[in-house]
Amino acid sequence: MKVIVQEGLFDPYQETRDYEEKCLPVGKHGAVVTFVGTMRDFNDGHNVSSMFLEHYPGMTERHIEEVCEEAAQKWDVIDALVLHRHGEISISEPIVLVAVWSAHRAHAFDACRYIINYLKERAPFWKCESTQQGKRWVEHNTEDPGVNAKGLKQSA
């Protein structure tokens, strides 16, 4: 498993393909589920022009790694890749990639959803949005209305 927190822009689809080619054993996985979080131009009723994403170097990586390890204990995960940006982010740019490889889709779906939901709950990142009214810290994340992280934990 690999966790990278970086400032630079990345192509999540190319990163997924490259990682699979370099790190996955041939013929063992039957599913790869990817989640790509991207930058909206609106949030909480305001137009947003850009965003600065602050993090706590060291703690952020540690907690994403813990979440990935938890997912690998709960489901049959062959491998996982998480890339997360920090710093200045522009509209439509990717913020985060979670890719999970498994033999079967159910494990890949659930593990991917667990990782992104718990990452959002525990990894120390903070979004500061630029709006027409000035800069503001985002105070809460949007929730996953389908199956929240705790629901997944209970069903695992």
């Binding site: 979080g37 994403l53 602050e54 993090h55 706590y56 060291g58 703690m59 952020t60 540690r62 997360h84 913020i95 985060v96 992104i116 990452l119 959002k120 709950e121 525990r122 990894a123 120390p124 990142f125 903070w126 979004k127 500061c128 810290w137 985002v138 105070e139 809460h140 994340n141």
Partner: protein, 78 residues
Amino acid sequence: MNITVRYFANMRDRMGRAEDTVSIDGDAVTVEELWSKVSPQEGLPSNVLIAVNMEYTDGSRVLKNGDEVAFFPPVTGG
């Protein structure tokens, strides 16, 4: 003992600084007591998150020499 204190996001804005180095006498100092030293005018905000040496904890955690304590708001990554 010496404690490094770090503030992130709106906690840094609120404190007006990113970091403090605090020297405290005694060997059973809690995070709450540390907070009263770095912010004597204002109690610990109710929604603040606390980490000691990059692990989440709470205000009752007893500190030791060399610990790094961080105060920050709820996280909003992803």
